[in-house]
């Protein structure tokens, strides 16, 4: 909570577990739609992921104070879902307008991904999880950054796998989405290798 002491060690643990162990896409199944839809080309995958990291950080920075200073003191905790989704939708629109006006170069490369992010469950997921886990403000931001980074890692890795899939020749019924999902399953197995990393990080 607000008076919680933030330790550097704690932050590293949160970051590492968000990126590797509890990867949002591959172990929590959040943000599967962009993972399957936008991972065909590497540049699109990175563009989308960077937009996600940015929006996750921003959404956390805005929703955490709203929950702790506005909703909780007034006994409105049950309004969380409604308020958070509205805040995220507004924020995404706002960022798009600002980028368009002041940084057109960045808007050209990231702007197209922004509307997609409003209904991305990873963003709403990270803001709600931060509250559920009762992280402090700094920890929440670290968790949001880590989750975004994990999303980037999964997207980039999977874009590589998918470019190989193109040249494969699966059975007719498996062509397209099914074989992509099977590939995702194998990539997800590879992340099991990180399972013990957190316990032994500071051993």
């Amino acid at each position: 909570m607000a008076g919680h002491i933030v330790s550097f060690k704690g932050c590293i643990v949160i970051l590492m577990s968000a990126v590797l162990v509890n990867n949002y896409v591959l172990s929590k199944f959040l943000g599967i739609c962009p993972f399957l839809g936008v991972s065909k080309k590497l540049d699109q995958a990175t563009g989308m992921s960077i937009a996600v990291i940015f929006v996750m950080l921003l959404a956390t920075a805005v929703t955490w104070p709203i929950q702790h200073y506005l909703l909780d003191p007034n006994g409105l905790g049950y309004m969380q879902t409604v308020v958070f989704i509205l805040v995220i939708a507004t924020l995404v629109q706002f960022v798009e307008i600002v980028l368009k006006k002041y940084i057109p170069g960045l808007h050209a490369s990231l702007g197209v991904y922004l509307p997609l992010i409003t209904t991305n469950c990873a963003v709403l997921g990270v803001t709600i999880l931060n509250i559920d886990e009762s992280y402090s403000f700094i920890e929440s931001l670290v968790n949001a950054f880590g989750s975004g980074l994990g999303f980037l890692l999964a997207m980039v890795l999977f874009a590589g796998v998918r470019s190989r899939l193109e040249s494969g020749d699966p059975p007719e019924a498996f062509k397209g989405l099914p074989i992509t999902l099977i590939a995702a399953s194998i990539v997800s197995v590879s992340f099991f290798g990180f399972a013990g990393i957190i316990e032994n990080l500071f051993a």
Partner: protein, 228 residues
Amino acid sequence: MTKLDNFTKGIIRENPVLVLVLGTCPTLATSTQTSNAIGMGAAATIVLLCSNAAISALRKVIPDKVRIPCYIVLIAAFVTIVQMLVKAFAPSLNEALGIYLPLIVVNCIILGRAEMYANKNTVGDSVVDALGMGVGFTLTLFVMASIREIFGSGAWFGMAIPFLQNFKISIMTLAPGGFFVFGCLIAVVNRIMMKKGKPRRSLGCKSCPCAEACGKASCETEGKGAEA
């Protein structure tokens, strides 16, 4: 289209998960146990039913330009109600579904049906459509959860199955198993569709509620790639 047709299309022909490929996140996440799957399916169906009815009733009132935010607020309100009911009457289900309960808000099936069906049709038709889609979603979740629970935990609805209990494939209940079973189920549906001579649907973007916005980004190339 008759009412019955309208109802059954959600279960088979336009199954939201296996044919339209919507709502993948909750499908993969909550299908580890049959009881969770049915809970998730029921919660999503109730929200879908309420939101379809409300949006259809308000379809002439909501201005076209701000329709998506309006839908999201309506859906979020219904999700909050369902969340409070589950917390009060089924706390163990609330524990099991965790974050995925509030995330029904961003479930593509609900926004997708609002955008594709409820804002063009009468309240009665929309309710039937929602029921069909909800039952289709629940059934798919149930089938997936059955496969994962039987092979992964050697049980069904928590009841141990004699032989399989000794040979659990526990990876089936973990994340990779989810992707794997989902991929295989879609392949089975593809196979059936091919036998019937129906064209296989690609990972279509037409059904996605964000299609308009992302047409600029990736779906266009995706669609062209799939057609080629």
